[in-house]
Amino acid sequence: MTADRSGIAERLAGVGYIADPGLATALWLMELLKRPLLLEGAAGVGKTEVAKALSALHRAKLIRLQCYEGLDQNAALYEWNYQRQLLAIKARENAGDDPDRVEAHIFSEPYLLERPLLQAIRQEEAPVLLIDEIDRADEEFEAFLLELLADFQITVPELGTIQAKAIPRVVITSNGTRELSDALRRRCLYHFVDFPEPDREARILLARMPDIDASLALQIARMVAAIRKEDLRKIPGVAESLDWAAALAGLGIKDLHQDPEAVHDTLICLLKTNEDQRRLTREVSDRLLGRVA
């Protein structure tokens, strides 16, 4: 991509992503060093969005592997289409084919189901590979992934070794529920994603909702920042801020101070547990609103 670090933030803004400066540098570095990028941070800070922005920036296909406990290589790499294989065996048996030829036939390309990792490796153009929430997968899977990231090749016993045609740009995210291995961490560039500062969050709101008033966007961002400092069970993320902004805009609100009752009533967009909703009483929301200029 571009050899110009300074231009990245603008180009990201062009695709609707408002990056913090450190992240822009990290994305630039991914190109220079050809390393995967590991993103850590709380849920809702927009880690997945980084991968989407990267794919938009390079006009590259986004391939996503969502990790979960018990995720194994079959689900991540490839699987055979058993139903089709069984039908083919039956059909060929009836036609009097010999078993060796049947075997060679059913373990071939048309019966192969690509899963995200194999798919990523077989792209003609380098895709963005998002490995989401790696901390949910088991350590064994992490070790396997490390192997894959080292040489970008996959061996399917029946087909042989498949070498990547273009090296994917890899983004790995983790919510920190489990500590990742040092080996994986060391292979990656690292960026810790925090909740955006009010100024940046306001710009995110404006980028997504061009109709909204700039001063309202800043008020919303500041109010959300204040709410995040309260003792809550689930801290609202950027997606929640967007929902809230949409709700306020839908009510025709131009200034938060204009209608504190509506502000309080719409807080359900931000607070996703019963406990949090009860904790943020009208008094609390008025107090927080008082601090938002």
């Binding site: 570095l29 390393r35 088991d138 064994e140 489990r178």
Partner: protein, 389 residues
Amino acid sequence: MTPIGASARARLAAFVRSLRANGFATGLGETQDALKVMTSELALRPVYLREAFKALFCSRQQDWQRFDEIFDAFWLGRGMKTAVRASGARPDAARAERRSGFPGFGDKAGSTTAVADRDALDESADLPGEGRSRGASSAEGLSQTDLRHIAEPDALDQAMELAERLARAMRDRLTRRDRRHRRGRRIDMRRTIRASIGHGGTPVDLVRRRRKEKPLRLVMLLDVSGSMSLYSTAFVRFMRGLVERAQDAEAYVFHTRLVHISEALRESDPVRAVERLSLMAQGWSGGTRIGESLASFNRFHAARVLNSRSVVIILSDGYDTGEPGALAQEMAALRKRARRIVWLNPMMGWKDYAPVAGGMQAALPYVDLFAPAHNLASLAALEPYLAKL
């Protein structure tokens, strides 16, 4: 592209060394990539260079939070403490940029490497003032009955025997990785299909899989501070039994500092084992800094020793002279790496004991099993627990 001079290379190497001294896990790969970064356009602006090095050298959140400070201390010649005091929480990048050119290269001010040094921290940890007086053990009115019982030679032999049984209980545990097995529970479709080809697609022979078993790893952290001293002998013996018999076990002791003793415990000659232990254990029976000891375990040992098959056993009465908040933080970090945390507290076997000590209170939310360990029976009760994991 500008070629990198020998002095710049040396400065970079020194920077990497100071990162390592601060517990960063950086290797040759990062250093070579850092050289690449230094020849790229990022090097033209110090702020970019800092951001790039940060992405490159950090690999976890703790690194991330400390990096700017270390970077400034090294390249901008600012002492860490003063950097913090002068600018509040974060050193300001703007000031860094005002300095012309490449920060720290051939710059005399940059050569004062004021990087917090681990030994210095350790020394301050050894300050007098804690110990039994504040450890409160004497105030609790230590009962001797259960201890006599455990210190008898017979009982010590029993401790070894018990350790052996526990080691057996831990040996196998199930993992998610499958293995082919005649009587497994799940059908392996890939292999079943292959086997059915000869039968015209009728799956006559079902190929099954079964979960593979892997041993648990046991990591023991024994408190040998003053308040625990009466128990230490028997527990060390117990740990020795485990390290010897279990396939996978590591042992540490701590008081104001953490000491790795697995190697010494593996010493076949008992006299030499005791010598090595007593050399390591200078300062035993002093005060307790559980939080700091756990911090040094987390920082310097955890990555190597802990995985999802690790059970951490902490043997301590929870009388901590450190900050309970710090202990809670380290327990939370430990919690993320280990499969289970077991806290054995000798005082729990006493009548009317309640875990009111500040350290114990802070640690409890992160403990999976909180159990007594004042006699052998209480240790034996661990066996069914470990067997279930």
